[in-house]
């Protein structure tokens, strides 16, 4: 993440969740000894082409990301939030964070032609 987006989340603590997922929490929440259902928030999932960043991860990373962030116009943003892919032109293949103004909307995978929508269905807007 540091290499791809130029961001460090050193004030928080990363937790491995299963084989592929990463969660993020505070040092105090990590250290509190109790049987939990979850700690902190789901941040990212490993995929063959990089890390899929959750909506919450896009906020934390996007605010200070130096690269690989796509700014969408409002009309495109609305389409994106319905869970649809977008045809855009980006400099290189890989994972991009999505933003509109001060709002971040998760991440997408750019395959050279299409920005594939990686927002979970439960977080999209019904038409």
């Amino acid at each position: 993440m540091e290499r791809w987006f130029g961001v460090s989340l050193s004030e928080y603590r990363l937790i491995k969740s299963g084989k592929k997922r990463l969660r993020l929490t505070t040092p105090e929440a990590l250290e509190f000894g109790v049987k939990d259902v979850v700690r902190g928030v789901y941040l990212a999932k490993k995929a063959p082409y990089g890390y899929i960043i959750s909506i919450e991860g896009s906020y934390l990373i996007g605010r200070c990301a130096e690269r690989h962030v796509v700014e969408l116009a409002f009309d495109q943003f609305r389409i994106w939030m319905r869970g649809e892919d977008l045809e855009v032109d980006l400099p290189e293949r890989g994972i991009y964070l999505i933003r509109h103004g001060r709002a971040f909307a998760g991440s997408g995978y750019y395959n050279g032609k299409i920005l594939q929508n990686l927002i979970p269905k439960s977080r999209t807007v019904e038409p």
Partner: protein, 316 residues
Amino acid sequence: MSDGVPAELIKPEFERRYRELLGDEYEILLSFMARRPIPSIRINPMKVDPHWLVGRLEADGWELEPVPWYEYGYRVRKGTERLGNTEWHQLGLYYVQEAASMIPPVALAPEPGERVLDLAASPGSKTTQISEMMQHRGLIVANDVAPDRVDALVANVQRMGSINVVVTLSDGRRAPLLFGEGVFDRVLLDAPCSSLGEVRRSWGALARWSPRSVNRIARLQLSLAKAAYRTLREGGVMVYSTCTLEPKENEWVVYNLLQLGAELEEPSIEGLRWRPGLERWMDWEFGGEMRRVMRIYPQDNDTIGFFVAVLRKPIR
């Protein structure tokens, strides 16, 4: 729900008790119970600049009015039909939360870096508000007892990005065993209740109301309140709240906590109209201390009904 509460839902004992409690205001209470509450939202300042979002919503034709007692709370005078189906909601930029439900976290006044317990936390409106007030620093243990309720809590904690939350699934009465005694700086018990204050949302609570059901739930509330109090450190603050107006579920529980040595704090919440608690009710004498607990009737602020008490565990 605008033509009045159906007469068949009002049990004679309910009418007798609430006429005794409110006198001439009983009819006003009923008229408010028959009105839908004004929808309201709580903006998440940890994800978005509130001014930017308010500007965006107003550009979409929304009319927002600030909630006086919470700086990021807004009543939606005009907006969309489905507040839970917008881009901004799905991104966790706001939470659909009744304005009165924002009061307990304000009364709790958590600080960044503290240890906080929210013992009956689902669906997470207050947990996520507390997390934002703590600027996502420190620790919140958010507990609930039923798996399906915990699922809703987990989803909302994720959506609002509440990084400092640990979600647990357990019977809150076992809290001192599970979490330890004297562990938390602040504890919120927004207790399960008969929900009479929520009649504006649904008449179900009125249909289910009976003295017996109130007594049964009051015993559970007291067990939870005692457990919550034991987890509080000396000098720490505990908020006990319900969305009901029943004295047995409110003053009676607080009175019993005072017998354990708890002290009532003077509440100070700007812009909120509230009434002092009952010093006596039916056969019970709760005492003059109850002037420090907040009874919030629907007609006081045009919200759902609420009860809030702020207690401190003295340093020995």
